[in-house]
Amino acid sequence: MAEFFSTYGSLIVSMVLGALLGLSLYLPLMTGQLSLASPGFYALGGYIAAILSTKVFTSSSNLFPLHLLLLEMLIAGLVSGILGLLVGIPALRLRGIYLAIATIAFVEVLRVLSLNLEITGGAVGIFGIPQPFQTQIEYLWIALPLLLISMILFYRLERVRVGRAFTAIREDELAAGAMGINPTYYKVLAFTLGAILAGIVGAISAHFLNTWNARQGTFDASIIYLTFVLIGGSRTFLGSVVGGMVFTALPEVLRGIADSGLFPSWLGWLAQFLRDGRLIIFGLLIVIGTIFFPQGLVTPDIFKMGKVKK
């Protein structure tokens, strides 16, 4: 068991972080807004943590103090939230594909900035980020409570007035507006909450990955996070959590299957394909998923299975 955790420790943490990123993208989707800005805030949060921990909070001790990491997460969340508000108010006047394009542009602006600024280290990025823990798996102390708290909040959110207003806007913005819901207010709220969550996750990831550079928040990343949510299920927060975990783990699970020795030698080519063709399989699953599970793998219907509808 110890070997299992030392081998897959970092993967388990990545899965939790993937689930959190899925949730940050799910928030604007709750109000029906296809926003791809999350990777931008994720990158921003990472840069904030990376710069603070390498330049400001330099400590002589072997391990980076945990309370400073929590402080970084707080600052990253705050800055992302303020920026999310500033970007959200004008950008959320756009809808559908136009909003998607505007948010992609926002992510690109941040990426080009990080490539050109001295403080972000240009294309090389920032490396030598101090570690708060001895082993990778211990990041769960930070990531897992964050995920649990977020999930409890999301569970509540989907059942209180604000969450119902989100859903109302998603189903029909005009009708929601006619019923006295202020769509702009709730859309910006959802967008900003997503930005805060992405920023916090970025701060953890920067420490977790040891290094942070401009490749972390790119358009490719946006698409992968969107996959988490769309294939996982965009109608309930559990879809994003499951999607984020399964799709983060998938490439490594395929590697595990290939190495496991389940295949007799005449099937060696299949094991080799699972190992090298992991990304092809990943792409295939996305295509199959969108055809057969247009609502995602986890839908609210699953919870109604016990009840017989007549």
């Binding site: 070997e3 081998t7 897959y8 490539l115 990778q136 699970v253 595990g256 299957i257 599970f293 219907d301």
Partner: protein
């Protein structure tokens, strides 16, 4: 109701698959994995963590080729005093998280004695601290950025840093044309390697008392360089220095020539691949590129390596393959000398890794790269560097790197 049921049933095998994969690797039935514990070993496992997939795979696959030739060559020679080595390959793909996972798998599951990898410096910054904490030696085959051996005691590299290799090509250009005064520099702004390389180039230009007339930036994804090229040509440079990758760098060379630039061109290590021939065709002719490896290097081991590579791939071995071969060779020779002091298959794995790390830093190795050794922090000490010039056939269909004396 019905569709929901079908969906849930469809979900089950996915989770089943997931759990099988995780559990089966803990209680592995793979004979190779069981053999990996050195106390009872019949082979000595060495990990190779390079990019076999993603857009970095062009480089990673050359490294796999070099490492495989090394495995066969040294096992044919009797391995570690009779015990054969076994290379364990794990794909890092192109990103940081993938590299961490590959390293974790090699360290904990495959129980290798040392790791060769990863392909990119950015991946190294991410994964090497993990190896450092696990106290397992890492030999970088192609990390040329500043600060790699400084990551820790267990990190070393066989790839000479860009600060040592890059200036050679400028000196070669000055030898060909001593009248060079004005220099224009181009670099790919979004590529970590090009960014650090161009700083070295610009510093060398200043040290040689040349005039740096312009610095132009581009992106590795660009295809149109008209404005940057025109800007530079208007300043009438005698020498152009390009740090970029094969596709963008090749296009830039082509457009510079098409716009009438006649002077010498120096390319960075990113252009050091035959993949640029189809991009700039006949216009590639004459580009100078500094090399850490020459296929024509004299010496028995390089002759054998070159022959094995020629037999298999029908072309001259590239620098990346030679460096991966050299990395495996360093492990093999360090293990051999360690074995003479205390039998390596008697040592416990953690002790073996620590002893191996100490041993490999003290030795001298005669590799295809020439004679190499390491400084105490793990930086390579390499004697021979080369400069190659691209020679294209008139119709632009074929080309090769010819080495300048």
């Amino acid at each position: 109701m019905n569709t929901a049921f079908i969906r849930t049933t469809a979900l089950l095998p996915i989770f089943a698959l997931f759990f099988t994969a995780c559990s089966s690797s803990t209680v592995s039935t793979n004979p190779a994995n069981n053999n990996a514990t050195p106390q009872t070993s019949t082979v000595i496992p060495i990990g190779i963590a390079v990019a076999q997939t993603s857009n970095v795979a062009l480089l990673g696959q050359e490294q796999v080729a070099g490492a495989k030739i090394a495995e066969k060559y040294f096992n044919d020679q009797g391995g570690i005093n009779g015990t054969p080595i076994k290379l364990v390959f794990q794909d890092t793909a192109g990103d940081e998280a993938g590299t961490i996972n590959a390293f974790q798998a090699l360290i904990n599951k495959d129980k290798v004695v040392g790791i060769v990898g990863p392909t990119l410096s950015q991946q190294a910054f991410s994964a090497n601290p993990i190896a450092e904490r696990a106290k397992i030696p890492v030999l970088a085959p192609s990390n040329t950025a500043k600060g790699i051996p400084e990551i820790g005691d267990y990190i070393a590299r066989v790839s000479a840093p860009v600060s040592v290799v890059a200036p050679n090509s400028i000196k070669a250009a000055l030898k060909i044309n001593p009248n060079i005064k004005k220099v224009a520099v181009f670099f790919a702004q979004n590529d970590a390697f090009s960014k650090s390389e161009t700083e070295i180039f610009q510093q060398t230009v200043k040290e040689q008392n040349l005039e740096l007339v312009t610095v132009q930036k581009f992106q590795t994804s660009d295809t149109d360089f008209q404005s940057q090229a025109t800007n530079a040509i208007n300043l009438k440079p005698d020498l152009v220095i390009i740090s970029g990758l094969a596709a963008d760098g090749g296009n830039l060379v082509r457009q510079l020539r098409e716009l009438g630039y006649k002077g010498l061109i120096v390319g960075g290590n990113g252009l050091n691949t035959s993949n640029i021939f189809p991009v700039c065709k006949a216009l590639c002719d004459g580009v100078l590129i500094a090399q850490a490896y020459s296929p024509e290097h004299p010496g028995e081991i390089n002759t054998k390596f070159r022959q094995a590579y020629l037999d298999q791939f029908k072309k001259e071995p590239p620098q990346f393959s030679a460096q991966a071969f050299a990395a495996v060779q360093v492990y093999v020779e360090a293990l051999k000398s360690l074995d003479q002091k205390s039998k390596v298959n008697k040592l416990e794995l953690p002790a073996l890794r620590t002893e191996l790390n100490k041993q490999l830093l003290t030795g001298k190795y005669n590799t295809p790269l020439g004679e190499i050794a390491f400084t105490p922090i793990g930086e390579i000490v390499q004697k021979d560097f080369y400069v190659a010039q691209i020679k294209m056939e008139a119709d632009g269909s074929k080309g090769k790197f010819t080495f300048l004396k």
